[in-house]
Point group: C2
Chain length 334, copies 2
């Protein structure tokens, strides 16, 4: 099993390397690709040194089984053919192909089998906020069909990449030093001590693309007519995303039923003991693999409604881990 | 008009002083009260020095017309009789009396007239998150009855008092210095670079008291059967609260109708021009009086639903300003 990582120097690329190592992914060879700028960089993997190659239109992907690609949408579009033409499966972290009919969009806990039908040799990894949400929706859908969802996100800096995390940390330092001028480049405004209700660009209906991803991707992954109204907000947190979710199901479900469904679901950890101040918090869940849920309770406006709070590491389950779980599934089932 | 401020050394107390000054409140005399610890402190008001008296069970409130009280629920309960027995009207910022039948709960933009019927001489100031929300709900209710609301809050440190704001700033400094041990006393956990989905204590239905205030106080203020499901989260922001709100009305309303209703409503400023990156943000709205709304759009799950984002200074409209607006209304209408 020869694996390629494209965009290895980015936040997700680095996490891909780390997770392949931690999970002892059964690879026989590894090739690393990056932009002209990061070509020549070296990374260690299981005691061996690997040098980053520049991604170019050539035959470098001959013999590659799976390419884990996280280098932005335009790179994915430009290089999809180069990557897949000799038979490699491209697991793409960008939004470029997600909504195309002949590209499966996969969260293994929810719709793993879809990964087996990839006529273009491309499998898309969903958006981070969607991955985290559908993992928590699936055990509920298994009990009763979900009609609609309201979700308010609290998204960390990591969603905007490694340089955005650096920018937030620099802003924190500048705030601590009481500097008058706080630099903001990756974000439209200062994020430290602030909230920015704007992630990705705006669409015509007043929602951002990020919010519409939660609507459209959720329907595709769940093969469902579910409706989602999302409000996405960037918060001064480093790398785990949080979500307040309200779900309306066809039948009335109890909190106990939902809790049990969460507890029995692979990929979810329930942290829900208010008396003991136990609930998921992003600071303490960075680097974890699971989706953590807590604060499970009835929707006070609707007997068929339930609400809960969810936290998950954006770089792990929201990106790199999900891609590797897809690769693991292919390995077992192809 | 003789005014007393009780709890003048706290975050809200200090803001009360500042707002009385800025609005040229027509007072003829001012008396300041505090705990034993803050007694003896002095504050300047319009060029004159005032010394804080210790709040005691005596006749110090004789001659006082209005007492603005912000010293916590137990102090309000203990001293309500002392404060009101000679005829002073107590405008109380604590939650102690809010839900009592013979105590009006007032947000002047919504139910000012209720302030005129205060048989116990006590008028309660609602909770900060509720004040901010009902100001934005009232113009919608004027168009069509609101059946239910889902609200996700992003609450700043100021809601926990001046010492909590200091704690957050200290944590920011400690994070900047990469200290291993970050102190947390006012909050249950580190707030810097974190989110805490827990404000006030938990109740039996899994909601916190803070969340149930948004349910119960909203119904009382709006004289309505409106149902509210709230999820309250503390965020590392200094002093303005933000809210993602979904509203379901009896009739279908357009975004244009809602926007116009907001624009015409006293106390609301619309900041809603996504193309120009205009939306309310807490960092830039500290110290402002109004409730700022933006991101107005349809609820994608419901033709009779609308959603928007709101930001307001928690110490101002969420506490001190609202109390003084009640006092101003009494002055004009008594």
């Amino acid at each position: 099993m020869k694996i390629a990582i494209v965009g290895v120097s980015g936040a997700v690329g680095q996490e891909l390397l780390k997770i392949l190592d931690q999970r002892n992914f059964p690879l026989t060879d590894l090739v690393l690709f990056g932009s002209k700028r990061s070509a020549g960089n070296t990374y260690n993997f299981k005691g061996k040194k690997y040098t980053v190659k520049e991604l170019q239109h050539n035959d470098d992907f001959k013999g590659v089984d799976i390419a884990l690609v996280s280098a932005g949408g335009s790179t994915s579009i430009e290089f999809a053919n180069t990557i897949t033409k000799h038979g490699a499966i491209m697991i793409d972290n960008s939004s470029a192909f997600r909504m195309e009919d002949d590209v499966p969009l996969v969260v293994p806990e929810v719709n793993a089998k879809d990964a087996l039908n990839a006529p273009r040799n491309i499998i898309a990894n969903p958006n981070c906020t969607t991955i985290q949400m559908v993992v928590s929706l699936k055990p509920i859908e298994n009990l009763s069909h979900i009609k609609r969802v309201h979700v308010s996100t609290y998204q960390s800096a990591s969603g905007a990449g490694a340089s955005a995390m650096k920018e937030l940390l620099q802003q924190i330092k500048d705030v601590a030093l009481e500097k008058n001028e706080i630099q903001a480049e990756k974000f439209a405004y200062q994020l430290a001590l602030n909230l920015i209700p704007h992630i990705d660009s705006f669409t015509e209906n007043g929602y951002t693309k990020e919010e519409m991803k939660m609507f459209n991707e959720t329907r595709k992954i769940m093969h469902s007519d579910i409706k989602v109204s999302a409000s996405c907000v960037r918060v001064p947190v480093m790398r785990a995303h949080s979500e307040n979710i309200w779900v309306e199901t066809e039948d009335e479900l109890s909190v106990a039923q939902i809790r049990q469904a969460f507890e029995n679901f692979n990929g979810i950890i329930v942290e829900d003991n208010p008396a003991d101040k136990k609930y998921p918090m992003p600071l303490f869940l960075s680097g974890k693999n699971e989706v953590f849920v807590g604060r499970i309770r009835k929707d006070l406006t609707n007997p068929k409604g339930i609400t809960f709070w969810s936290v998950s590491d954006q770089i792990r389950k929201g990106a790199a881990l999900n891609a590797i779980q897809i690769a693991e599934y292919l390995l077992k089932n192809k």
